[in-house]
């Protein structure tokens, strides 16, 4: 039997699912930021071998489809005898994916500071963590803000791919609703609107930040 869905039912269901889209985006962003800071520290302090390993990781994640990354992470866990939920696989994968891009953005922001800033810290006797915390980060954050916010838009949009491995975020719920109502035009239109409402303000913010950092 075909169920009757009012417009409000559809919107309510999509809004409910949007919470999972947001939750996954926040986890990927938070986890990704922490992992990126670890990698950034390694890149700035370790030798050539560690740097090569890190840039291999970055190139692999930037050079392959996220959908493949999701499948591989999802199917890799069972290989070592661990069953994971789509939520866990999606989180792990998107954290790794986000770090591969954020590292590029943040590293180039740090590197674009004049060498004199590092030298001044050194002759004043600041330790590496103090230099990072008090001198490098406050300046790098300004430079990296616009591209980082721009990347968050990509991240939010890419959470839609986790529907393919069965994570019940907004796109997945949209697909389920479509199957139940046979109103794809309306539902995918609303779905697009949902993403647009999340992403458009961030895109605007990114553009504003870009203007002010110049």
């Amino acid at each position: 039997m075909m169920m009757e869905f009012t417009l409000w039912d559809i919107i309510r269901n999509l809004l409910f699912a949007m919470r999972w889209t947001l939750a996954l985006s926040l986890v990927a962003l938070g986890g990704g930021a922490i992992f990126t800071l670890v990698l950034l520290t390694l890149r700035l302090t370790c030798g050539a071998r560690v740097n090569r390993a890190i840039s291999l990781y970055v190139n692999l994640f930037q050079g392959t489809p996220i959908l493949m990354q999701l499948f591989l992470v999802f199917f890799a866990f069972p290989l070592v005898g661990i069953e994971v939920s789509p939520w866990t696989a999606a989180s792990v994968c998107l954290i790794l994916y986000a770090s591969a891009y954020l590292l590029d953005i943040w590293y180039s922001a740090v590197r674009s500071l004049p060498r004199g800033q590092w030298e001044a810290c050194r002759v004043l006797g600041l330790s590496f963590p103090q230099t990072m915390r008090h001198v490098v980060m406050p300046q790098a954050i300004r430079l990296a803000a616009a591209p980082s916010v721009g990347f968050i838009v990509q991240l939010i949009k890419n959470t839609s791919l986790t529907s393919v491995i069965g994570f019940e975020e907004m796109t997945k719920v949209g697909m389920v609703l479509t199957n139940a109502t046979f109103e794809p035009f309306k539902i995918y239109g609303l779905l697009a609107l949902g993403y647009f409402l999340l992403c458009f303000p961030l895109s605007r913010l990114a553009r504003r930040l870009e203007g002010s950092s110049r």
Binding site: G116, V123, L124, L126, S127, H134
Partner: protein, 245 residues
């Protein structure tokens, strides 16, 4: 008494032999000007003196501390040797006072309030007591360089290295910076200055070191050296500098 001793210092950048056996003593309370053409190795020598650059042979001693470019030594060196750069290298996201306070707070561990008083005192000393809460972008080049001097002095160094500190300044701003340095010299702070300002080297430095092709070509008391250069190279250098002025 010697505050710093440099003995047969050799430095290479790859195949490029930049310092070819430097022997130099800096005495307590003395101000030494290092002059020479660009590429003569004078800035490199200065940067070796506080471990910003490494060297391959010889040694540099400051008191009983051996100066090397080892990162771990940087903190210890910073407590005794200050440095001022050509490009100021102020931290653009911090105010003048915050620039001065940063190292005393983080490296010496002084309490916030004491740091603030110290910053006031140091900025007053360089004539910028009124500009404490300005950001570097709101200051002229000469003012920025004076903040950089205050920042270095706040660490109470026993010796101060100045690396072409007026080269990035408009001519009319050079005087205000040199006046501060002159005052420091008269107070008995040990100074080593790499400089293009010949008049300044002559009037302020006790001793002038002329570097040529990675070696100390000639040295002596400032006025003596300028009046009676012993080598053709120095004579030529001085007359060129005069022509340029």
């Amino acid at each position: 008494m010697n505050i710093m001793t440099i003995c047969s210092l050799q430095k290479y950048y790859g195949d490029n032999h930049v310092l070819k056996g430097i022997d130099l003593n800096i005495r307590q309370g003395e101000s030494v000007a290092i002059i020479g053409q660009s590429g003569s190795g004078k800035s490199t020598l200065l940067r070796c003196m506080n471990g910003l650059e490494d060297y391959q042979e010889g040694w540099i001693r400051f008191g009983n501390m051996l100066i090397t470019s080892d990162e771990k030594k940087a903190r210890e060196i910073s407590r005794s040797i200050g440095m001022i750069f050509q490009q100021f290298n102020l931290f653009p996201h911090l105010t003048a006072a915050e620039n001065v306070m940063l190292a005393p707070r983080l490296v010496l561990g002084l309490p916030e309030k004491e740091c603030r008083t110290l910053a006031e005192e140091m900025l007053e000393k360089v004539g910028l007591g009124e500009r404490m809460d300005y950001y570097p972008s709101g200051l002229s080049g000469g003012q920025q360089q004076r903040v950089a001097i205050a920042r270095a002095l706040a660490m109470k160094p026993r010796m101060l290295l100045c690396d072409e500190i007026t080269s990035a300044l408009d001519p009319e701003l050079v005087g205000e910076v040199l006046k501060v340095v002159e005052q420091l010299a008269s107070e008995g702070l040990s100074l080593v200055l790499v400089t293009h300002e010949m008049a300044f080297a002559r009037d302020v430095a006790n001793r002038v070191v002329f570097m040529h092709k990675g070696k100390i070509h000639e040295e002596g008391p400032a006025k003596e050296l300028f009046r009676h250069p012993q080598t053709a190279e120095l004579e030529q250098f001085i007359s060129r500098a005069r022509a340029g002025l």
